[in-house]
Symmetry: C2
């Protein structure tokens, strides 16, 4: 299981072939799907998914009694079965990351799905591991998050709505802890929690700005102790991060028990286990810990499990899912949130460090349109060919590439093709890749499915045939926390230095004094720039990263360092997607794009 099949054909490097080999012909590819440009939901609905129990048996050799079906096309893999896999060797891990995101879009999830289909197309046994979408953004601005075009996971509607209930379970476990905290205060506060220093908030999987800052416990003695509080969105919950890093039920409970809920007046931390919450929380999360199995449009296995924020948390799907997929497949493609400065850095420094997972290959996704924005073009002008702007914008791509090289990785660039991209613009990207010595493939999976990602898949397969890279972390556990932040700021963001607000400085000292100085750091920075200023595109240098606040995620096992305003509860726009989402005449969901 640990080596891919021997049928891999040589990879082709012709940039143009991405469309040339496919393009028009694929609209009649015989897959029965509507042509490119059809809304994602209609393509997804036209797909005929395989029964998930059959797919699991055929492609992964999982017996049906080791699956917990949720309908006919979704299933969880039982924890018992997973425990039995631990002796199998792991397959090879491919990380998909991206340039700094812009409103033009990069298509990281779409490329992950397309690459997985491409790898299967060329004869490898490959699965993709993705994060679960959050309901909040789905009804807000963003719409669904299950890939796009002909590179999607299905059943798309279910995945974007309640799916298998994982996020609801996380919400319930998080808020049970919150209720137990206020109940503890109400009944005499035996732990002597400082009511002003309760740090555990509540969560809800909805975009609801009015819940960011609240006062609670109002109304008199029967209704609790009055204090300030607030809600974050569920993906920002430490319980989410804990679930995504836990390796089994007992590790889950250990981490939940280690969550710091607040401080006593002597500043000593109070843990979730101190008020007896960890057992009940684990019970609520027992099913949620089991990874979810679905399929791509091309009927290849997809593990979709967990979805922590990529700013105040590490932004990767669960260790349980990635590890399970690696035991069951020769190759596993996974993605990390935002650009490589945040997503790949946290994937490596947090997820890989904690779990022992190591990527064998890494793909950096870019689009000509996004590179043009990094080159200074306004969103309204992206339709105008501008190879010079693309050339300027590749500074962003090159920075991400050299950053990944600093980790010991040998990245591959994937250009997620749009129909308006010109040859001159594509050549500019290739030249930039040549300049930093990385291979590049044009990928048209959005329009063409696996035919469009075949060349990318060949490049990746070639990398997987080479010996695994020696992954190097940029800092050791033993480095002091401020130096860890400075290291990432300088070596990944290109910053000259960091500044620590007085509160942040003292916070780091307290955290170290409490015995958490060995933890990795998780920097919460805007995803729209290497710097802390979202307006600065390209590859800025010499800037200073201002750390305003730090938070200990003791259960998850990292220290969050926050730059600027990081919103942990989004708001709805003036005309939210919810107003356009409904059921059509046949009971089908409309408006979920």
């Amino acid at each position: 299981m640990s080596q891919h099949r021997s049928t891999v054909r040589p990879a082709s490097f012709d940039l143009e072939s991405g469309t040339a080999s496919c393009g028009a012909s694929c609209a009649s590819a015989g897959d029965g799907l509507p042509p490119p440009g059809t809304p994602d939901i209609e393509i997804a609905r036209a797909a005929r998914p395989r029964a998930i129990l059959d797919l699991a048996a055929d492609t992964l050799d999982i017996p049906s009694e080791s699956l917990i079906p949720y309908g006919h096309t979704k299933a969880k893999i039982t924890l018992d079965y997973i425990a039995g896999l631990r002796t199998r060797p792991r397959g090879q891990l491919v990380l998909v990351t991206a340039i700094t995101p812009t409103p033009a879009g990069e298509g990281k999830t779409t490329t992950s799905v397309g690459l997985n289909d491409g790898l299967n197309r060329i004869g490898l046994n490959s699965a993709v591991c993705l994060r679960e979408p959050s309901l909040g953004p789905c009804f807000g601005m963003k719409g669904g998050a299950a890939g796009g075009g002909r590179a999607q996971v299905i059943p798309m509607e279910d995945i974007n709505l309640h799916f298998t209930g994982d996020f609801h379970a996380i919400t319930a476990a998080h808020n049970l802890l919150a209720a137990l905290i206020d109940n503890h205060l109400h009944w005499g506060n035996a732990q002597h929690l400082d009511v002003r220093r309760v740090s555990w908030r509540r969560v809800m999987d909805v975009n609801d700005r009015a819940l960011r800052n609240i006062t609670l416990g109002l109304g008199g003695p029967a209704h609790g102790i009055p204090r300030e509080g607030g809600f974050d969105i569920t993906v920002a919950s430490e319980v989410m991060a804990v679930l995504c890093l836990a390796t089994d039920l007992s590790d889950l409970q250990e981490r939940l028990g280690g969550i710091v809920i607040g401080l006593r007046s002597d500043k000593s931390p109070v843990f979730a286990r101190d008020i007896g919450a960890d057992g009940a929380m684990t019970v609520l999360l027992r099913d949620a810990l089991a990874p979810n199995l679905v399929q791509t449009l091309e009927h290849n296995p997809a593990f979709i499990h967990g979805g922590p924020f990529a700013n105040i948390a590490h932004g990767c799907n669960s260790v349980m899912a990635t590890d399970t997929a690696l035991r069951l497949n020769d190759v596993v493609v996974t993605e990390a949130g935002f650009g490589a400065d945040l997503g790949a850095e946290k994937f490596l420094h947090i997820k890989c460090r904690q779990s022992g997972l190591r990527p064998h290959a890494v793909v950096v996704v870019a689009t000509v349109r996004a590179l043009k924005m990094h080159g200074g073009v306004a969103k309204g002008d992206l339709g105008i060919p501008d190879p010079d702007a693309v050339r300027r914008g590749t500074s962003n791509l090159q920075r991400h590439v050299t950053n990944l090289q600093a980790f010991g990785l040998a990245p591959i660039v994937a250009i997620n093709q749009f129909s308006g991209d010109t040859r001159a613009e594509l050549d500019a990207v290739r030249a930039a890749c040549d300049a930093v010595g990385v291979p590049v493939a044009l990928a048209s999976h959005w329009a063409d499915g696996s035919r469009g990602s075949e060349n990318l898949a060949r490049l990746v397969a070639e990398r997987l045939d080479a010996p695994p890279p020696e992954v190097r972390f940029l800092y050791p556990d033993s480095m002091p926390l401020p130096d860890k932040i400075r290291t990432v700021a300088q070596r990944v963001y290109g910053a000259a230095d960091i500044t620590l607000d007085w509160l942040a400085q003292r916070g780091l000292e307290d955290i170290a004094a409490q015995g958490y100085g060995h933890l990795p750091i998780c920097i919460a920075k805007t995803q729209y720039s290497f710097s802390a200023d979202p307006g600065v595109k390209g590859a800025p240098e010499g800037h200073v990263l201002p750390i305003r606040e730090v938070r200990l995620a003791a259960g998850a096992g990292f220290v969050v360092a926050i730059c600027g305003d990081i919103m942990t509860m989004p708001g709805l726009p003036q005309s939210p997607a919810a107003l356009h989402i409904g059921l059509g005449p046949g009971g089908e969901v409309v408006g979920l794009t």
Copy 2:
């Protein structure tokens, strides 16, 4: 399908036979279950459930493609399949209700499950329809709610935890509406909602007193409009009541759209559909509307779906589940919350009135211990035989019986037997039943399963062989709202009259002026007394029912009249069940009783 089988044997009326025929022998009944007195969860875990797809095919003739499995022992029945059943005749409906509850316990759910098993035992095709338990009380004081002893529904742990996610979906839909309301206020308030008169609160499925009264929208202009608000528990959500009364997806959306979210300054109501929320809410509830199928310990079908509060809502499982069960079975046993004064009254006046369902038989559950409490015995003295106290307490039972007779029903009394009940005490109950002309059966299903409920089942089967009763509502739609309240107070509660606080008086006038005067009323009164005073046991007369407040549930289709303090968000006790719930060494749930 509409008539039960002809194999029914004559019913026996020997009170003593309940234990005599079973008792000791049943501990070795060959069913492989632990003996009576074993904790419910251990009995449930020892049971070997049938695969739900097989059970549905064998007992209900439902093809597997019309079921949505959730694991191997739970499933939803698809809405398409249910739509195709509408032309089938309905089976016969049996309502299980109870005397006024006391801390001694009555066992309404247990008796419903036991009766269903008994009916199947004597050859009828019967199913039971129950409410879904709420997570809040499960981690608070109450523990699980899936029957008890040998009269349980399984899988007990799943049913008591997330089950099929219905309550989470209701929470999400409710809170999406709340977020859309505050977002509407934030972005200019085009509907001119009076921010002081927003009546839509938020919900969470947890006991959390600190959320009862909050201020929200704090923190400045980016964080919404400051106002007062609060949280109820999910079972108190009008969305829950709506889901339980809706007959299909379009009725669901119509009801959701008709929810009143608040008033304009001119007091005109603003509806959920006015801010465009009904479509997205319906999408979130699409799966939740489909009824859930599980099984009893004896492998008979159980529909568990919905669970509205029995005070500020109607306290019955869903119309969808009851109606579907009736199309698929000759007999359906269902329960209604609290005692018959609240549960049966609302079942008839709200659920039956709206849906066209009519019970053919009704069972009133009593225990000797509870009757003793109604006769004045303190909880600590319930172990002492006291036939006189039982005799005094039967006034409560008799009042419920005559109330049901006023509806045109001919009730049957079930004594849910406890091991300490004496012959003299049981005789006292029989004499009281004889005095009001109703049959009575001793039932020991808790200890003995269907062997213990066989006599009760025969009594019920005999009633079902008789022509259906002419069910009469106590008030017509056209009666003015205050008179509807007075009618229930006088004819069901034995009150002399009602008083309406000034606010309640004006509220009823406003509701009538808005065009809702035709709706039934839903009285939120303590469940512990016929009066509004929970300390008054037995069958009080001549009291006055004080109506403090009224609320319009326009989407659900009733008007709530509130007496005294009705808590819509419970609190946790000093030592909540959550502190004792956890996973055992084998990953099994412990502490969930």
